[in-house]
């Protein structure tokens, strides 16, 4: 079957509606959250209609079915990421932000003899292009433990500056936590050299894959990383479900973050021991219907093929970048070509503030995001206080790009009237 955004859109009920007085919905904000296909909506509601019960508890048929559905979703995620240790390496969280916080807080709970214990003199490495979700948990972990935060800077072209890699990832570095694809710049970072250097000094590599897992094949074994996080809702799945993947031996050593039911092995009034991962990190009744919905989302993506989706988005990115080159006063924030780049495209149009541009585009049915995109330090480093971001996905086509380009030209006319 050839790749057809028009056919794909038929699977997404939201595209049946119009916005702003009958305008076609041109949804270019999938970087913030993706739309949902019927199969996901049905899987989530189907769980509630037919199988609802608390997983891993209950001596009844519904509890068995719910547990099966939930654990099957975990297996789907494990296969989707090619997790070498299988589904035991998949932890369900509420979103990627929680995944990264879980990891940072768990490391903060590590006692002296634990490999994750941090102290003064240790270092955590991030980059200047991190989303706040992969910056603040580490920044605050450093503040709590006395470890030092260091970071890769970003070149004016929006690439990671690896020229000083050995002085950024030093011998005392314990964690290297980086975004796989910048949610602002679209830049996909070169992992090979980073992973090699991090592992050479004994650090673990944490990948914030929020903007890559939904859009291209991501194979954690091939990337040779140690932890990965992504959000279900950016991956066609429901809100309220995210994933932390970690290598089994590392999850075994990592202390828990949230305590409570399901995560224990043995409990007395004064002490407790922990269940093995992933249960150790899933205290309380989890977001079951949402996990099942995420499983359906990943099945939907796999059926279309992540390679096909990536190829489609890359072609569309090239088309949009080409069209933007033809608009005077438009300045891209990030790489201007499609090399090592995804479909998050941020830009500025001289004299029109992004919030005003976004408002005009909305009046034309074009949904974009404006602001600092939860990456304030990056905005400051590039001296771009705010920008407009269009982010592409499998259901977008060239007509969506044309609507955006026409909208930008229209906004220039509209705000140029004085």
């Amino acid at each position: 079957m050839s790749f057809s955004p028009a056919l794909i859109r038929q699977d997404f009920p939201i595209f049946e509606r119009t916005v702003r007085e009958g305008k076609k919905l041109v949804y270019l904000d999938s970087g913030a959250t993706s739309q949902k296909p019927h199969s996901v909506i049905e899987a989530e509601s189907g769980f509630y209609k037919l199988h609802n019960a608390a997983v891993h508890r209950g001596a009844h048929q519904l509890a068995e079915e719910a547990t099966d559905a939930y654990e099957n979703a975990r297996l789907i995620v494990a296969n989707f990421l090619n997790a070498p240790g299988g589904s035991d390496e998949i932890i369900f969280t509420k979103n990627a932000t929680e995944s990264l916080n879980l990891l940072a807080y768990s490391m903060g709970n590590a006692k002296n003899t634990n490999r994750f214990a941090l102290k003064t003199g240790d270092r955590i490495v991030v980059s200047e292009m991190e989303h706040h979700a992969n910056l603040i948990p580490w920044q605050q972990l450093c503040a709590r433990t006395g470890a030092e935060l260091a970071w890769f800077s970003v070149t004016p072209e929006g690439r990671l500056d690896l020229s000083a890699i050995d002085s950024v990832i030093t011998a005392n570095t314990k964690v290297v936590a980086l975004t796989h694809q910048s949610n602002v710049l679209g830049t996909i970072i070169p992992l090979e050299a980073i992973v090699a250097r991090a592992h050479a000094v004994g650090a673990v590599v944490v990948l914030d894959a929020c903007q890559s897992v939904p859009h291209m094949p991501v194979d954690v074994a091939a990337l040779d990383i140690d932890f990965l996080s992504f959000s279900g809702h950016k991956t066609l799945g429901p809100t309220g479900i995210g994933v932390l993947w970690g290598r089994k031996n590392l999850l075994d050593e990592l202390p828990p973050f949230l305590y409570g039911g399901s995560m224990i092995e043995y409990v007395t009034m004064t002490d407790a021991t922990w269940a093995p991962a992933p249960a150790k990190f899933e205290a309380g009744v989890p977001n079951m219907a949402q996990a099942v919905g995420l499983g359906a989302a990943l099945n939907y993506l796999s059926k279309i093929g992540m390679e096909n989706i990536h190829t489609h988005e890359l072609a569309l990115t090239g088309y949009l970048l080409e069209g933007m080159r033809g608009i005077a006063d438009l300045k891209l924030v990030g790489p201007t070509d499609t090399h090592s780049r995804g479909g998050a495209i941020s830009f500025m149009v001289q004299d029109i503030h992004p919030h005003d541009l976004g408002q005009y585009l909305d009046s034309q049915g074009v949904a974009v995001r404006t602001g600092h995109h939860c990456a304030w330090p990056l905005a400051k480093a590039l001296n771009v206080p705010a920008s407009t971001r269009a982010s592409l996905y499998l259901y977008n086509d060239e007509s969506d790009c044309d609507a955006l380009l026409d909208g930008i030209v229209g906004a220039k006319k509209y705000f140029g009237r004085l």
Binding site: E21, H353, H355, Y360, S363, A379, P385, F415
Partner: protein, 146 residues
């Protein structure tokens, strides 16, 4: 187009030709406010002579709504007493909370009546309030120093 109710000429005019922009060297109080969700920021200086607002100056960056709003506000409140300013601030806040149901009191709000259309756009209300909330804060700080 509904957009025209948002982008009144007077708003775009103040955006392109902001009034009282450029911070005074001295002040009774100085405050800095940001809209964390979009990155808009302003610094506002207030000078009081007794209860009279003798000078309001500001600097900042942001969208047309936030920048025009602070420009119009500084025009409107300079020369007013703190009590008069409080009445105008309340009138403006009520208008923003009206979700487009109130036409606003033009006698009180003067040029700031142009923001009536903003209240129909929930995402922009915080833009129009940025400067006014900074003023509220600055007035309290200036008074507490007296």
């Amino acid at each position: 187009m509904q957009l025209d109710s948002l982008y009144q000429e007077v708003i775009l005019d103040h955006y392109k030709h902001p009034q009282h922009k450029g911070l005074s060297p001295t002040f009774s109080a100085q405050v800095s406010h940001v809209n964390a969700s979009c990155g808009d920021e302003i610094i506002l200086n207030i000078n009081l002579e007794g209860d009279l607002i003798s000078e309001l100056t500001w600097d900042g960056q942001g969208c047309s709504i936030s920048q025009a709003s602070v420009s119009i506000m500084t025009d409107l409140l300079t020369g007013k007493t703190l009590d008069q300013a409080a009445i105008i601030l309340k009138s403006f806040s009520d208008l923003m909370a009206s979700k487009g149901t109130s036409p606003g009191d033009e006698l009180v709000l003067e040029d700031a009546i142009a923001f009536a259309g903003v209240s129909k756009f929930p995402g922009r209300i915080k833009c129009s309030l940025l400067g006014w909330m900074a003023f509220k804060d600055a007035a309290i700080q200036a008074q507490s120093k007296k």
